[in-house]
């Protein structure tokens, strides 16, 4: 078993955990964390492929994509957090009350 294979399996697990978390977690912050975990899975998948396709160095394209992706994901997560705090401040709600 090669290194990248371990992580590529991990990536699928993380993605599914994150996805489940987004749906099942109740607290805003946990939902946001879940999206980051989901993203973590996706990025791990990219980087694992980069390692698999390494020549003298690892494939730089996935690395660059992941760096871009992390920054984008963090920007959205920060926005979500700001919204969540704002909602808490206005209503005292910490989760979607009419969530199914």
């Amino acid at each position: 078993m090669e290194t990248y294979q371990i992580y590529i399996l991990t990536s699928a697990v993380l993605f599914v955990i994150g996805m489940g978390g987004v749906f099942m977690a109740r607290h805003f912050i946990k939902k946001i964390i879940a999206t980051i975990i989901m993203g973590g899975g996706v990025f791990l998948c990219f980087v694992s492929f980069a390692q698999r396709d390494a020549l003298t160095f690892a494939d730089p394209v996935p690395h660059a994509l992941v760096i871009t992706g992390i920054v984008v994901a963090v920007a959205s997560a920060a926005f979500a957090l700001a919204l969540a705090r704002r909602i808490y401040q206005l209503t005292g709600e910490e989760s979607f009350t009419n969530d199914k």
Binding site: S11, F15, G18, M19, V22, F28, K31, I32, T35, M38, G39, G41, V42, C45, F46, S48, F49, R52, D53, V61, P62, L65, T68, G69, V72, A73, A75, S76, A77, F79, A80, L83, A84, R86, I87, L90, T91, E93, F96
Partner: protein
């Protein structure tokens, strides 16, 4: 690929709005609005010029940084992209003009929401970028730009309801993009390229491709509020400020649909089966019925309109089953492909115009009466004839009565349905129209009724009413150049193509 003519327009269409958005940040609120409006007019004009350019030159490209794919990114503007960009330009300009008057009128009480302008310009750049993009990962970045600016616009009103709806929207959007990106990762891993044109040639069927298609479709369905992922749309669209609601329903959800359509038809043909198309069609059919019914049950104008979006987007999904050929059907004999594509494009345009007009009219009513309970429409026909007219005309287009754009779309859809022999979709189209008529005329009926007691009524700027009315008329006028437009669209590679699953004994593509 590289023998296509190069044009600066694709780069300008993305760069310019962001440049203006950045510039506008330096101005105080009033200046932001002026610069923002100028930027919007500029971007709109640019979109139309680019459309004309494609009409004259055919497909144009812009190789960013001068690096050819697969390493570099290519912007590609074919007729399909050009039509979407042109539509965004026209609808966008009208909404911008409306926003200008709308926020001017609210300047005294709410500070005029100056942030609207840079956010909207970012959104516009994102949309243009999405229509032009020819790279899976770049598409992800553009949908993130669109998603974030859309949510930011949705919460701009500062109302609690808007913020809760906005957070739900944002979480759905992030989940959707992450699911999409997972698919992109797998595709990159299995092919080593992100360029759509190259992928079409190298993608091979298999478990990975199928799974990638699944998560990408899932992600985009969440983004476009396709059933059963429509839960976020009605609260978000109905609680936003009127011009924002118009932008969100008219343009933003169409972005995800556009990618979904392109990826299915241009890239993932190898993995798509007949039953997959049926499944998407089923989701669309349920959305049509469910959304219309929900709209019928609502009591506030904006919620009615928002639920109606769910239904109208359902029609878009219903073209998918027609584009995928049943096993054993010869690609050459499939004469329903062009009608189905036409139905899709026209449904997008008709809905964009009509729904924008509808939301803008709702905004006018809220401004005049202070609320939008549907009962507030009583006796409106005599006090705001132009707005009621706009609602009426837009509503007629939504129902699909002739000779509106909506009618043309439904005509083509039904034609495609009958020609393909998939008659089981026909009742859905008709029932959807009938239900739509139900809620549209429920509103109009009230507008003609005499008010029991006169509500306090504030006059609104005429410009607002004119914008809404012109957009509503637009949903009719788009039918006039139909023949020319279809001819133009057929120059796009995707338009009119169908897929036959390799697994079911076909060959890839219809060529």
């Amino acid at each position: 690929m590289t023998d296509l003519p190069t044009s600066p327009f694709p780069a300008l269409l993305v760069g310019l709005p962001i440049l203006v958005a950045t510039l506008s940040l330096f101005f105080r609120p009033r200046g932001k609005a002026v610069v923002g409006l100028m930027g919007c007019l500029l971007t709109g004009g640019l979109g139309l010029i680019a459309l004309v350019e494609v009409m004259q030159q055919g497909t144009v490209i812009h190789i960013l940084g001068g690096w050819d794919p697969p390493l570099g990114i290519l912007l590609r503007m074919d007729s399909l992209a050009a039509v979407f960009i042109g539509m965004t330009a026209v609808v966008g300009v009208f909404i911008s003009l409306y926003a200008w008057w709308f926020f001017r009128a609210r300047e005294a009480t709410n500070g005029g929401f100056p942030l609207f302008w840079p956010l909207w310009l970012f959104l516009w750049a994102g949309l243009n970028g999405l229509f032009l993009s020819n790279d899976l990962f770049n598409l992800f970045v553009t949908i993130e730009v669109i998603g974030m600016s859309a949510v930011a616009l949705a919460v701009l009103s500062g109302k609690t309801a808007a913020q809760i709806a906005g957070l739900r929207y944002l979480l759905a959007a992030i989940t959707g993009s992450m699911a999409y990106l997972f698919g992109v990762a797998l595709i990159y891993g299995s092919t080593g390229t992100l360029d759509l044109g190259l992928l079409r040639q190298v993608l091979e069927p298999g478990a990975t491709t199928t799974f990638a298609l699944l998560v990408i479709t899932l992600g985009l369905m969440i983004k476009m509020a396709g059933f059963p992922f429509h839960f976020w749309l009605p609260p978000a669209h109905s609680s936003a400020l009127a011009p924002v609601s118009a932008l969100l329903s008219a343009l933003v959800v169409k972005g995800a649909f556009y990618i979904l359509l392109r990826l299915w038809m241009e890239v993932f043909g190898v993995s798509i089966t007949f039953s997959a198309g049926q499944l998407i069609g089923l989701a669309g059919a349920i959305a049509v019925i469910w959304g219309s019914w929900q709209a019928f049950m609502q009591t506030s104008l904006k919620l009615i309109v928002a639920h109606s979006s769910v239904a109208q987007l359902g029609y878009l999904l219903m073209i998918f089953p027609l584009l995928i050929l049943a096993p054993g059907v010869a690609a050459g004999s499939a004469d329903w492909l062009s009608p189905a594509w036409t139905a899709g494009v026209y449904q997008v345009m008709a809905h964009a115009f009509a729904k924008a007009s509808f939301f803008l009219s709702a905004g006018i009513i809220i401004m005049a009466l202070g609320h939008d309970h549907k009962g507030s429409l009583r006796d409106l026909a005599s006090r705001m004839p132009m707005t009621v007219m706009a609602i009426g005309i837009a509503g007629v287009s939504l129902i699909g009565l002739p000779p509106s754009g909506g009618f043309f779309a439904k005509w083509m859809l039904l034609k495609g349905i009958f020609l393909s022999g998939q008659w089981w979709w026909a009742p859905v189209v008709l029932a959807g129209s009938f239900l739509t008529a139900g809620y549209v005329f429920m509103l109009l009926r009230l507008a003609f009724a005499t008010a029991r007691e006169k509500e306090p009524f504030r006059p609104v700027p005429k410009g607002l009413e004119v914008c809404a009315l012109l957009l509503a008329l637009g949903s009719f006028l788009i039918v006039l150049p139909a023949e020319y437009l279809i001819q133009f669209l057929e120059s796009s590679e995707a338009f009119g193509s169908g897929i036959q699953s390799i697994m079911e004994g076909g060959t890839y593509g219809n060529d």
